[in-house]
């Protein structure tokens, strides 16, 4: 079965790389590898099955649960009924969901778009010319914050912020300040900036290597200031990286569940980002139907953000 099927065998196979423009209509050359539909499908089938089983099916399942009143316990756990779009209209009028959306925006803006981006770039820019030993040490420490398991990290930060015996209060001499209660969102933003900066740092480090040294040299020769060099020489080269980086980290941050480990969404919903709200609704409140509806809304929001970024990227290209 190593031979290429003859062209006459059916519409699905164009023999050889030279496709005939007259037959296939518009578009680029088709079936470049000469596999034929059947075998091509055979090759992609495992991947499609995996995507179908672990991505498409759960997504559709979520949509389905989202239109029912399915619960974790009680009568609706045995015989849920379809309630149409009631969950969605409820979400639109749910003050706690609005609160969660707003907090998620704050969280993404503060810790990803500003925090990780700026800190990551600053580290990459400064470390570029640092002594190798210093650079490696800083990089290792930053990476450590990124690769440690969330539970371990969360425990350390809870101890850091603790009201009675916390490290922060010992350093500042502010015994009795309950950081996680009084300033929950600020704590989460600082925490997540610390946690995720490594990715931005690494991405920008490699991106900066793409900036031609000759241009930096010229900039220095004509006496450009540091800011001018960044703005006029460096950024034009790494704009694509900035967009990609921002897309990735904002999506990760928006879907991040580690805030739960620090505050459980509390006190009184003051740090309840959307993923935490979904968890609380689903498992604390047992309302699996409603939480699925919100999950689907979060999925839509993710898709929307991705589309916008992709649009921007394409326009740039």
């Amino acid at each position: 079965m190593t031979t290429v099927s003859p062209p006459a065998a059916g519409g699905g196979s164009n023999a050889g790389p030279a496709s005939r423009p007259g037959r296939g209509g518009r578009g680029p050359a088709r079936d470049v590898a000469g596999l034929g539909v059947g075998r091509a499908l055979g090759f992609v089938a495992p991947a499609l099955l995996l995507i179908g089983a672990f991505l498409v099916f759960p997504a559709i399942w979520t949509i389905y649960i989202g239109v029912t009143n399915y619960r974790l316990t009680g009568v609706e756990a045995v015989s849920p009924s379809v309630v149409g779009l009631a969950n969605y209209t409820r979400a639109l009028n749910d003050a706690l969901f609005h609160n969660a959306l707003w907090l998620t925006m704050l969280f993404v803006l503060g810790s990803a778009i500003l925090g990780q981006n700026i800190l990551g770039f600053a580290l990459a820019w400064i470390l570029r010319r640092a002594r190798p030993a210093v650079r490696r040490t800083v990089e290792a420490l930053t990476l450590l914050a990124w690769i440690l398991p969330s539970t371990v990290v969360a425990y350390l930060w809870v101890a850091f912020f603790d009201r009675d015996t916390g490290t922060l209060n010992s350093i500042l001499g502010t015994t009795g300040t309950a950081w996680l209660i009084d300033y929950p969102m600020v704590c989460l933003i600082v925490f997540n900036t610390w946690r995720g900066t490594a990715f931005s740092m690494m991405l920008y480090s490699s991106a900066l290597q793409a900036v031609p040294p000759s241009q930096l040299e010229s900039a220095r020769m004509v006496g450009a200031s540091g800011w001018q060099t960044l703005r006029d020489v460096v950024f034009p080269h790494i704009r694509g990286h900035v967009l990609t980086n921002t897309l990735l980290i904002s999506l990760w941050t928006a879907n991040d569940f580690s805030p739960f480990l620090l505050t459980k969404g509390g006190p009184n919903h003051e740090s309840e980002t959307v993923p935490v709200y979904i968890y609380n609704v689903a498992l604390q409140g047992g309302e699996l139907g409603y939480s699925s509806a919100i999950s689907f809304l979060l999925l839509l929001a993710n898709l929307l953000v991705s589309l916008v970024y992709l649009r921007l990227l394409r326009r740039r290209a």
Binding site: V56, W61, I65, G74, A77, G266, P267, Q284, G286
Partner: protein
């Protein structure tokens, strides 16, 4: 050519639709044979419980692992059955434990014998996660004929009953009182045999304690972080003190003057420095309140006898107090004003307790029932106490052991006669969550009015309609 692009989409759509037809919440493969594996010579059973050696309710876990299981195994060996019993301990918050169990049971897995809070029986039963004992064991005479039932008082049996069917064997009950630190009371010039007769007198004692530095006068659980502990050790004991309860004549409590009276009490405690509002909002607030009481930093604390047995207990407690017997005082919870409590009582309390149920999907229903009876036999219940006292489910054991512990004797003789139980209705946990949210609002600084209005809304949703809520 087009098919190449369309096919995956069509295929995925078709697969998804096929899979979706396996619908939500299907109740499973019908009736199972209750006598499955009844004659097995090699049996494996697992006991699930929210307790763990060296942590939460350590004494119970230690007893199960070191005494109950070896004895049961030996007992069965004598009958020629090779039994392996595993203990699946947990040491988490009750809400988390419940979530884990619900997920386990909804997937038809989980331990064979499960210790649950009596208040979960309703919603678990409605979800089909647990079945009446007579269904699981198959033989009504076998279940109802167990001689242990005669030793368990009717009110305690209710903990394992839903819609007049027995789902599990209760594991004892408890009662709530006001604990106070006698050392702090002495410093504040308050009597060592303190017994407040109204809420006003609690607040007065709080004012006296406030003068001591570094002391939080009163801890009455509030807020959402403490979960059911807020309802049981806060709202409900106060509510029965106003003369009503959470469910009267089939209607749930709405935004009534009595609810507002309770919320006002929270406002008085947490709005004026008599209580620590931050503690109510912390993720681990309840554990911290225990630690603070043990460190002589809290004056008055409302808790069940669990606090005496497992928290400040000098040897195995989670917040040990070496001088517990001398330093910790206890008093009945007063009604808002004398005679103003439910049924016209001067003093009130709330009680709860757990039950052990059989997982309907166990491989060995007969052996599980045998273990359940063994666990609740007079001999085992007595041994579970290991010299300590506790209000057990069995009257015969209680009369024997309670005399040795004045505090528990106090609960058994003074508190249990005036106590109330939560309604065993499936909606209860949702109503309870709404009450917790209302206290969270007040503790967080909102007015009683705002909190009460928001509460009314959530109760209407939770109860399934306005007509099921008693408003004003």
């Amino acid at each position: 050519m087009r098919s190449l692009r369309l096919f995956p989409a069509v295929a995925l759509g078709a697969t998804a639709t096929l899979l979706l037809t396996g619908c939500l919440g299907s109740s499973g493969s019908g009736e199972q044979d209750a006598n499955r594996n009844a004659d097995a010579k090699k049996v494996e059973l697992t006991i699930g419980s929210n307790s763990v050696k060296g942590g939460k309710s350590s004494a119970g876990a230690t007893f199960t692992e070191d005494v109950l299981i070896p004895k049961f195994v030996a007992d069965q060996k004598a009958k020629g059955v090779d039994v392996t019993v595993k203990f699946q301990g947990d040491g988490s918050d009750d809400e988390v434990y419940k979530q884990k169990l619900s997920l386990d049971l909804s997937n038809k897995s989980g331990p064979d014998l499960i210790q649950i809070d009596g208040i979960w029986v309703g919603e678990f039963a409605q979800a089909g996660y647990i079945k009446p004992l007579t269904d699981t064991v198959g033989d009504a005479a076998k279940v109802d004929g167990w001689d242990g039932w005669q030793q368990i008082p009717e009110s305690v049996q209710q903990l394992g009953i839903f819609e007049s069917k027995r789902y599990g064997v209760p594991g004892g009950t408890d009662g709530r009182v006001l604990y106070f630190n006698k050392k702090l009371f002495q410093q504040a010039g308050l009597p060592a045999d303190w017994q407040p007769k109204s809420w006003e007198e609690i607040l007065q004692a709080g004012q006296a304690l406030k003068k001591l530095s570094g002391v939080t006068p009163i801890q009455v659980n509030g807020g959402t972080a403490m979960g059911e502990a807020t309802t049981m050790q806060g709202v409900l004991p106060l509510l029965v003190g106003t003369g009503t309860s959470i469910n009267v004549d089939g209607k749930w409590l709405g935004d009534t003057p009595k609810l507002r009276q309770v919320l006002d009490f929270y406002h008085q405690v947490y709005g004026s420095g008599l209580g620590d509002p931050v503690l109510q909002r912390e993720a681990k607030g309840r554990d911290k309140s225990f630690a603070e009481f043990a460190a002589n930093k809290i004056g008055i604390l409302l808790e069940s006898d669990y606090f005496w047995r497992s928290v400040v207990e000098p040897k195995a407690g989670v917040a040990k107090m070496a001088d517990r017997d001398a330093a910790v005082g206890y008093a009945l919870i007063p009604a808002a004003r004398p005679g103003g409590g439910v049924k016209g009582q001067d003093f009130v309390s709330m009680s709860g307790g757990g039950a052990t149920v059989i997982n309907p999907n166990t491989k060995f229903p007969q052996q599980a029932w045998e273990l359940l009876q063994f666990m609740n036999s007079a001999a085992m219940v007595k041994e579970s106490l290991n010299g300590a006292a506790k209000i057990t489910q069995r009257t015969d054991v209680n009369t024997e052991v309670l005399a040795s512990d004045p505090m528990l004797n106090f609960v058994a003789t003074k508190v249990l006669p005036i106590t109330q139980y939560r309604p065993g209705l499936a909606e209860y946990p949702k109503i309870s969550a709404a009450l917790q949210q209302a206290t969270a609002d007040v503790v967080g600084g909102k007015s009683t009015d705002q909190a009460a209005r928001a509460y009314q809304k959530s109760v209407e949703t939770a109860a399934g309609g306005k007509d099921k809520v008693a408003g004003n």
